[in-house]
């Protein structure tokens, strides 16, 4: 692997890491929204 390849690999790691972390945050957000909707539904049925 020449030096350009190493530079490319480092870039992929940094951007890949950031994008993956943002993706996991988004997934957690979706799970929380789903949880909240379910809770609201249950509460409105009861009350």
């Amino acid at each position: 692997m020449d030096n350009l390849g190493f530079l490319f690999a480092a870039n992929v790691v940094v951007w890949g890491g950031i994008i993956y972390y943002v993706y996991t945050i988004r997934q957690r957000n979706r799970a929380l929204e789903k949880d909240l909707e379910l809770l609201k539904e249950t509460l409105s049925k009861e009350g």
Partner: protein, 238 residues
């Protein structure tokens, strides 16, 4: 309970921060790949520095926030500080991981080895392990306030490693280069001005990204608390 006006205001601030961060990263990419000249001895591979150093800065800053928030949590016993510490530790671990991966990628063609057990590299790895343990403690233990207290102590102790990491290259002979930004001659005296400017732009972009991620993670943790509270209320009222 969350105030709807405050939520809307937060979203607006968040959007501004998204744009600012995006623009800062765009400027950083232009500076790294177009503006800054190629370093004479290391060649094109040296450009990894503009990702490696800002990632290190971000992780140290994030762990400093953990340290400060943990002290404030132990002192004031307010959940808010625990949320800040938890969110910041997570971001710190992500960027510390990026430091530990980009470092060897840079080292391989320059040192001829992916990894050497010198003081800077080893102490950074120890820092990463401490904060991974911190996050594991938060997910494994069930006892709410006790868990937060143990985590706060670990968050404080872990940060004490950072001055050691900084000075390790001065106290021992290491493979890792000596500091180039903060030197005995002054700030930025050990670097070419264009390189310093590029590094500055990149550090700004990463810092903005930290605040953006922190904002989202803190809001998420608060929403999670709110949902848990409603669930508890529902269980007790049933």
């Amino acid at each position: 309970m969350m105030n709807p006006d405050a939520v809307e205001e937060n979203q607006e601030e968040g959007n501004i921060l998204v744009w600012l961060t995006g623009l800062a990263f765009l400027a950083a990419m232009v500076a790294i790949f177009i503006y800054v000249p190629t370093e004479r001895t290391e060649g094109i591979i040296q450009r990894i520095m503009y990702f490696h150093v800002p990632s290190a800065w971000l992780s140290f800053f994030a762990f400093f926030v953990v340290f400060l928030s943990s002290i404030l949590f132990l002192w004031k016993k307010e959940r808010e500080w625990d949320i800040y510490a938890h969110a910041s530790a997570e971001i710190g671990v992500i960027f510390c991981s990026l430091v530990l991966i980009t470092g060897p990628i840079w080292a391989r063609p320059i040192w001829g080895a992916w990894w050497v057990w010198d003081a800077r590299l080893t102490s950074t790895l120890i820092l990463w392990i401490i904060y991974v343990a911190y996050l594991m403690l938060r997910t494994q233990s069930d006892a709410g306030s006790m868990r937060a207290r143990y985590a706060a102590v670990l968050g404080i102790v872990g940060f004490l490693n950072i001055p050691f990491i900084h000075f390790s290259v001065l106290w021992w002979r290491t493979f890792h280069p000596q500091p180039k930004v903060i030197t005995n001659e002054g700030i930025g005296k050990g670097m070419d001005p264009t390189m310093l400017a590029t590094l500055g732009i990149s550090v700004c972009a990463f810092t903005l990204l930290y605040f953006l991620l922190m904002g989202v993670r803190v809001r998420q943790e608060k929403l999670k608390d709110e949902i848990d509270r409603l669930k508890r209320e529902k269980i007790y009222s049933a």
